[in-house]
């Protein structure tokens, strides 16, 4: 592997972490969806680059799926949902932006320490750093799901987490194709399921704020 191949892969994976941070501080619904589309584009670039440097043609498939599905179809569909439900105002957060960013930085530091240490001797340097970045993206996605009350932003958080997983899977050289397709497929299925739920929630609650759901808990009658 030549130096510049390594650098580009590094840059794209690092870019994904950066976009994950951008997702954390969005306070408008449409902006959030746009940034998520950017997240998917960066992922697609990263996966395609991996396909190129590993000379693994089958990896272009997840790249294409990321580009078509996550960068275009899902954001458009979610945008439609947002407009239909009339929730395109600001997003309520549980924790303020400042503390969230600080926690996010802590998580990235943690994943660097854990992964770089654990993969010390046995794994090639690119895969090592890829894994560390991927874990950061996964943890930032988790963080986003925790600090956002709104159902749509939780979905976005979940999908950014899945993006991190795909980054990890493609970085792991030669990981069987079965798994990649299943990941992409499961995202699709997950989206359908959530979509169904959203519409049901809309039907019953006139709100997609998960906080509103909490007040209906079975035991607080």
């Amino acid at each position: 592997m030549t130096g510049y191949q390594f650098d580009v892969a590094h840059m794209l994976a690092g870019g994904l972490v950066l976009v994950s941070f951008m997702l954390l501080y969005q306070d408008r619904m449409f902006a959030l969806l746009n940034v998520f589309a950017l997240h998917a584009v960066v992922l697609a670039g990263s996966v395609a680059w991996q396909a190129y440097i590993q000379a693994a043609v089958h990896l272009y498939v997840p790249a294409a799926i990321a580009l078509a599905l996550k960068a275009i179809i899902i954001p458009v569909a979610l945008r439609h949902v947002v407009i239909q439900l009339g929730i395109h105002r600001s997003i309520e957060t549980v924790v303020g932006v400042g503390p969230t960013m600080l926690v996010g930085m802590g998580l990235v530091g943690l994943s660097m320490v854990v992964m770089l240490k654990a993969t010390g001797s046995s794994v090639d340097p690119l895969a090592r750093e890829d894994l560390a970045f991927a874990l950061s993206v996964v943890l930032l996605g988790l963080l986003m799901m925790v600090v956002r009350r709104n159902a749509v932003s939780q979905i976005v958080g979940f999908m950014s987490m899945e993006n991190g997983l795909i980054l990890a899977a493609t970085g792991a050289k030669g990981m069987p194709l079965v798994v990649e397709i299943s990941i992409a497929f499961s995202v699709l299925v997950a989206f359908i399921v959530i979509g169904v739920f959203l519409f049901r929630i809309r039907e019953r609650f006139d709100s997609v704020d998960v906080q509103a759901l909490d007040s209906f808990r079975g035991e607080r009658r």
Binding site: V114, M115, K117, A118, T119, G120, S121, S122, V123, A127, L131, A134, L135, V138, L142, M145, A151, Q154, F158, M161, E162, L165, A168, A169, A172, K173, G174, M175, P176, V178, V179, S182, I183, S186, V189, A190, V193, I194, V196, F197, R200, I201, R204, F205, V210, L213, D214, F216, R217, G218, E219
Partner: protein, 483 residues
């Protein structure tokens, strides 16, 4: 499968039957025939699973060993009895208008899809495939939990979905790490994800990577087992979905997730320089037992109460497997089997009780042994069993777990016994209110199917009084396998 396309091997049959019947059930409009077909398909799957007992086909994409065959037989048996219970339960839901015929078609197809996914997760010889199957099982149960479409059901399904996905995502990350650890030894591609190859060649894996992988796998699949502090989805999902689903969730799906944890524990045990998985499992198990035991006192909903009891018992089982060693593993395996049988029996009773009373609130259910004697006494027996009182099967398994722990770590055993007693107290307190006294509220007669309920209870009683020697030998060999 080449020239004898029609003569299915049992190993393939336990996957093909549920898969085909799911398709068929999705197309069948009539409820009556669909419910019967569901029972027939579940019975056929169970018979094939029993056939599997003596067989050990050469491992390919699927494989059978002493460990997973226990889970497969248990899963298909409870799946079969639950489908029989479901037939009478669902008839009532249709009459009372809580479910429409269209939803029932969906329900039956999903039931068989769940069976397919669980069997696939158990016999898959590939950690990626196992992950996919567990994910599929999660999605089908999410859809079924939300089927009533009430506020509570939707909230439960949403919570289950979000927490389940987070768990499953962490588990996938762990799976990728295991692949990374195996790749230098087994080479790139499919081979580095195959169980039988992983176990055989594990000596050369990087222990640091496996350590990190196990933590992710434990947290990820542990969410699905319902271990504290990742249990939040479990009570809601049990309380708000249809009762047959509560029965299969508690009796089966939790076990399947536990099976995944056990597999990776076995893998780690073969690498001496990796961390011992035991302490992590012991801690999470014990935390679940204590947490659930105290939470039991504050429950006001009958299904929610038994859901917390499931958290407690999965904690006990995880604790036992975490302690390890031949005796504790044996006891853990026995306890898991007993819990599946007892808890699903309790849910069979509770399902019909809730239909007869028209409520799940504990405060509105009184004097069951007078108003519904057969169901009421069934519930009493079930709660006595789940509380771990002699002479039923769970007494024996809990006794084995506690005594083997006393011999090795007395302090842990004291904490465990405390949890068991606190939980027993809560269950007895609620039971005396619910089962005895003068009945009040709605006392509608229920057309219930008592056979599944009492079959399970009879099996649990039998296990407590006399365990057949072949079963003991079988479980002992599995316990040795678990290390």
């Amino acid at each position: 499968m080449s020239s004898h396309a029609l003569s299915l091997e049992p190993l393939q049959a336990i996957l093909v039957i549920p898969c085909l019947s799911a398709l068929l059930l999705a197309l069948l409009p009539g409820y009556w025939i669909a419910a019967r077909l569901n029972v027939a398909a579940s019975l056929a799957t169970f018979l094939c699973a029993v056939n599997l007992l003596g067989q050990r086909p050469t491992p390919g994409l699927l494989f059978v060993d002493d460990l997973n065959v226990v889970f497969v037989v248990l899963a298909t048996f409870v799946g079969f009895t639950t489908s029989a219970f479901s037939a009478s339960y669902i008839a009532h839901e249709l009459e009372s208008g809580r479910l429409t015929a269209r939803y029932l078609r969906f329900y039956h197809a999903m039931y068989q899809t769940l069976m397919f996914a669980m069997n696939l997760a158990l016999v898959a010889n590939n950690i990626g495939l196992m992950w996919v199957a567990i994910e599929l099982a999660t999605l089908t149960t999410v859809a079924m939990v939300g089927i009533y479409r009430t506020h509570e059901a939707l909230e439960a399904a949403w919570k289950y979905f979000i927490l389940g996905s987070v768990g499953i995502a962490l588990a996938l990350f762990g799976t990728i790490l295991v692949y990374m650890a195996a790749r230098p030894v087994l080479g790139e591609g499919q081979d580095a994800m195959v169980w039988t190859a992983l176990i055989e060649k594990s000596a050369g894996f990087s222990p640091e990577l496996l350590n990190v992988a196990f933590i992710f796998l434990m947290l990820g699949y542990g969410t699905k087992v319902g271990l504290a502090p990742l249990h939040a989805w479990l009570p809601d999902a049990h309380a708000e979905g249809p009762t047959p689903i509560s029965a299969v969730l508690s009796g089966l799906l939790l076990n399947v997730a536990l099976y995944a944890v056990l597999r990776f524990k076995m893998l780690l045990a073969t690498v001496p320089t990796a961390i011992a998985p035991g302490p992590l499992m012991v801690t999470m198990g014990l935390a679940s037992v204590l947490f659930a035991a105290f939470m039991l006192y504050r429950r006001r909903d009958i299904k929610r109460m038994f859901a917390y009891s499931s958290i407690e018992h999965m904690g006990i089982v995880t604790f036992a497997f975490g302690m390890g060693g031949a005796l504790a593993n044996f006891a853990g395996l026995l306890h898991m089997t007993m819990h599946s049988l007892t808890k699903s029996a309790i849910f069979f009773a509770v399902g019909h009780i809730a239909q007869g009373k028209g409520t799940q609130r504990l405060a509105e259910i009184r004097g069951l042994t007078e108003s519904h004697p057969v169901l009421g006494w069934g519930l009493v027996l079930g709660v006595i069993a789940i509380g771990g009182l002699p002479p039923l099967g769970m007494f024996m398994s809990e006794f084995l777990i506690v005594s083997s722990t006393f011999a090795r770590a007395p302090l842990l055993a004291i904490v465990l016994v405390l949890g068991l007693l606190v939980a027993l107290g809560a269950l007895m307190l609620r039971l005396s209110e619910v089962a005895f006294g003068t009945p009040d509220g709605k006392v509608a007669p229920v057309r219930a199917s008592y056979v599944p309920l009492y079959t399970h209870l009879a099996l649990v009683l039998m296990a407590g009084v006399y365990l057949p020697a072949p079963l003991v030998v079988w479980f002992q060999s599995v316990a040795r396998l678990l290390g």
